[in-house]
């Protein structure tokens, strides 16, 4: 499958946008794991905006930034959202409430615990009537969501916004699903060559076992730190592809699944 990246956005600890991420991945700036600011989504009505959780803010920010970078209308694109844990904060809070017979369950919290909550708010904010798909793939959410977004782009011949995000899992659920840091990535994938594309991707699935292409950056210390982030946060497994895009040139990248792998051939435009 061949798609073109027409827009890219990153929001993560120590990476306030693609320009900042690119400088770090090129070795031009040091990475510090400073918690990233998550802006309240300007597109929502004030009461909804105020109540949005951090992970909804994260997903909406990268989705919006990716569309801005691509110069596309957020209401026109198809949407694929991928996340391992979804809104772990809300799920954890509901589980705590359910274990306490005296505690009531908040109806708002309940409808916000669905895995497609972030995508739902995104379509409400952008007044989009376009299709949404929401996937969960544990540690392999990034690779499988990318594969599926490319398949939808090619089969439907439509531009697809891919948004993959995960955040730290609170306690006590974090005891059993340790997830750290904040990482969100947005890609606008076009099934056709576009004038301002960053790169062309050839994406295939292989049933053979493979390991992730390791992240290798100019600076050894940053490499070690960001490899830890890849391990701790499933969405950060996009970093090897992002490093390839930041550094230019052709690359071949593998993203391991629990079984099989996704192979990405990167050709700069």
């Amino acid at each position: 499958m061949r798609v073109w990246i027409s827009g890219l956005a990153v929001l993560a600890d120590g990476m306030a946008g693609w320009a900042a991420a690119r400088a770090i991945l090129r070795g031009e700036a040091a990475w510090q794991p400073t918690p990233c600011a998550l802006p309240p989504p300007a597109t929502l009505a004030p009461n909804e905006r105020r109540r949005t959780s951090p992970i909804v803010r994260l997903a909406m920010a990268v989705a919006s930034d990716a569309c801005t970078a691509a110069g596309c209308d957020p209401a026109a694109v198809h949407n694929v959202f991928g996340s391992s844990n979804g809104d772990g904060r809300v799920v954890n809070a509901i589980l705590q409430a359910l274990a306490d017979p005296a505690a009531g369950l908040s109806p708002t919290q309940f409808h916000n615990c669905v895995h497609n909550a972030a995508a739902g708010y995104w379509t409400i904010g952008s007044q989009s009537r376009q299709p949404v798909a929401c996937f969960g793939g544990y540690d392999w959410s990034w690779g499988f969501s990318l594969l599926q977004a490319a398949a939808e782009a090619v089969v439907e011949d439509r531009t697809v916004l891919l948004c993959v995000y995960d955040m730290a899992m609170p306690q006590p659920l974090g005891q059993k699903r340790p997830t750290r840091g904040t990482f969100g990535v947005g890609l606008v994938l076009s099934p056709r060559s576009v004038p301002h594309a960053l790169a062309m991707l050839d994406i295939e699935y292989g049933p053979e076992e493979a390991t992730d292409t390791p992240l290798i950056l100019p600076d050894a210390q940053t490499t070690t730190a960001l490899r830890t982030l890849c391990h701790d946060n499933p969405a950060a497994r996009a970093l090897p592809l992002l490093a390839a895009l930041a550094n230019g040139g052709p690359h071949e990248i593998r993203v391991a699944g629990d079984i099989g792998h996704v192979a990405i051939k990167v050709t700069p435009c």
Binding site: G86, L95, F110, V114, Y121, R129, V132, A133, Y138
Partner: protein, 404 residues
């Protein structure tokens, strides 16, 4: 894109729900209009009615997959062992190869009951029990991984989680895998099981009926929650000329369409604008005019808002000309599994030439304009539509035809 390219063969399928295990029991319950809903008695929750699957508590997973043990994976394992569907998938695996068959499963809550039990068993230091395995139970991907491991498949796997539209959307994502050439066949399905989260969550939203749900009734007052699992095998249209052993139900997936409401997290768009768009896109993808649809299996949850919205949406596109009904009076609202269960009902309706009328309706809402059936009717059909609408404004419509 021609219709022939869009159509996918559904060569084997089954489902289990409160109304029965597999095709024969489901067909018998539909024909005799026997509901599976009983007074709710689950984890101390006794409000309203629920649809539980007999035998799920006692069902054991194969020893090699014991790590996955939770109610949701037991439910899907029961489905795999119903109507010979696993044998049919094995035959497809022998033909195409394990690496060419994908798995796309829909669920809203996966094995969350395991986490609920673990939180109830937390010790005084706030530690969750040592034997609680989040990765293989509550995690969303657990369901798709279980199905793939149980069938020894090696194709791409995905879990679709978008509330009550989950397993309908799973058909679309499976179609993309096949049409993009990544897979020759995909095991599609879904499972959602009874848990405190949904029983108490929908009660907190005041959406659970005190009695059995009665979709489209003038006095409907909410849903009854049910559990269900379904499995189908979708194959590319130019795949095998000889199919595997006959298993369960068969059909052709003629078209699909999805949309978003872009309106509200838990309230549907009042005029059903998103629902109209999903149904229109399904018609476009099947290359069929609205007049070609013979029956619509409604999402029809039994809430005031959903059924009124869906009536508006259906009558906008189809007028009062297409018979339609909801089958949730039999199964309850099986949430992320309703798409695959209602795909089974659509296939049985097509094969046996009967439309199941809504169960438990005293009087259809007088404001409704669509042709709502309240008794079963024998009529031949060529094309049927199935709707699913979920929280977050996720809409999905599928169109089925008879097996080729």
């Amino acid at each position: 894109m021609t219709a022939a390219l869009t159509a996918l063969r559904l060569t084997a399928g089954t489902g289990i729900s409160a109304m029965g295990l597999g095709v024969a029991q489901t067909l018998a319950a539909l024909r005799t209009r026997r509901t599976g809903l009983e007074p709710c008695d689950f984890a101390g929750i006794t409000h309203g009615y629920a649809g539980s699957v007999a035998g799920v508590e006692d069902h054991a997973l194969p020893l090699r997959l014991a790590a996955y043990a939770c109610r949701n994976n037991r439910l899907v394992d029961m489905a795999l062992r119903t109507d010979g569907v696993a044998d049919a998938i094995m035959a497809a695996r022998a033909h195409y190869g394990a690496g060419r068959i994908g798995v796309v499963m829909g669920t809203s809550t996966s094995g969350v009951l395991a986490s609920e039990d673990a939180f109830c068993a937390m010790d005084a230091q706030g530690r969750l029990p040592a034997n609680f395995d989040y990765e293989h139970t509550q995690d969303l991907f657990s369901l798709a991984r279980y199905v793939r491991a149980a069938l020894d498949l090696r194709g791409p796997a995905l879990c679709v989680s978008m509330a009550c539209a989950s397993s309908s959307r799973a058909f679309m994502d499976a179609a993309y895998l096949i049409r993009a050439g990544l897979c020759d066949a995909v095991v599609v399905g879904g499972a959602d099981s009874l848990c405190r989260m949904t029983l108490r969550g929908f009660a907190a939203l005041e959406l659970v009926s005190a009695g059995r749900c009665r979709p489209c009734d003038a006095r409907r007052d909410g849903i009854s929650i049910g559990e269900a699992a379904g499995i189908v095998l979708l194959e590319r249209p130019d795949g095998r000329t000889i199919s595997g052993p006959p298993a369960g139900f068969h059909a052709t997936v003629l078209g699909y369409g999805a949309s978003s409401d872009g309106h509200h997290m838990s309230t549907p768009h009042p005029h059903g604008a998103g629902a109209v768009l999903a149904m229109q896109r399904a018609l476009d993808s099947a290359r069929l005019p609205a007049a070609a649809i013979d029956y619509i299996n409604l999402h029809g949850t039994g809430t005031r808002a959903n059924d009124a919205m869906e009536d508006k949406a259906v009558s906008t596109l189809f007028g009062a000309h297409v018979p339609c009904s909801s089958t949730k009076g039999w199964t309850g609202h099986t949430l992320g599994a309703c798409g695959v269960i209602e795909a089974m009902i659509c296939a049985l309706a097509l094969e046996h030439g009967f439309m199941p009328g809504c169960l438990g309706v005293e009087a259809v809402d007088p404001a409704f304009r669509a042709d709502v059936l309240t008794t079963n009717e024998a009529r031949p059909m060529r094309h049927v539509m199935s709707n699913a609408f979920g929280f977050g404004g996720a809409n999905c419509s599928l169109i089925f035809g008879k097996a080729a």
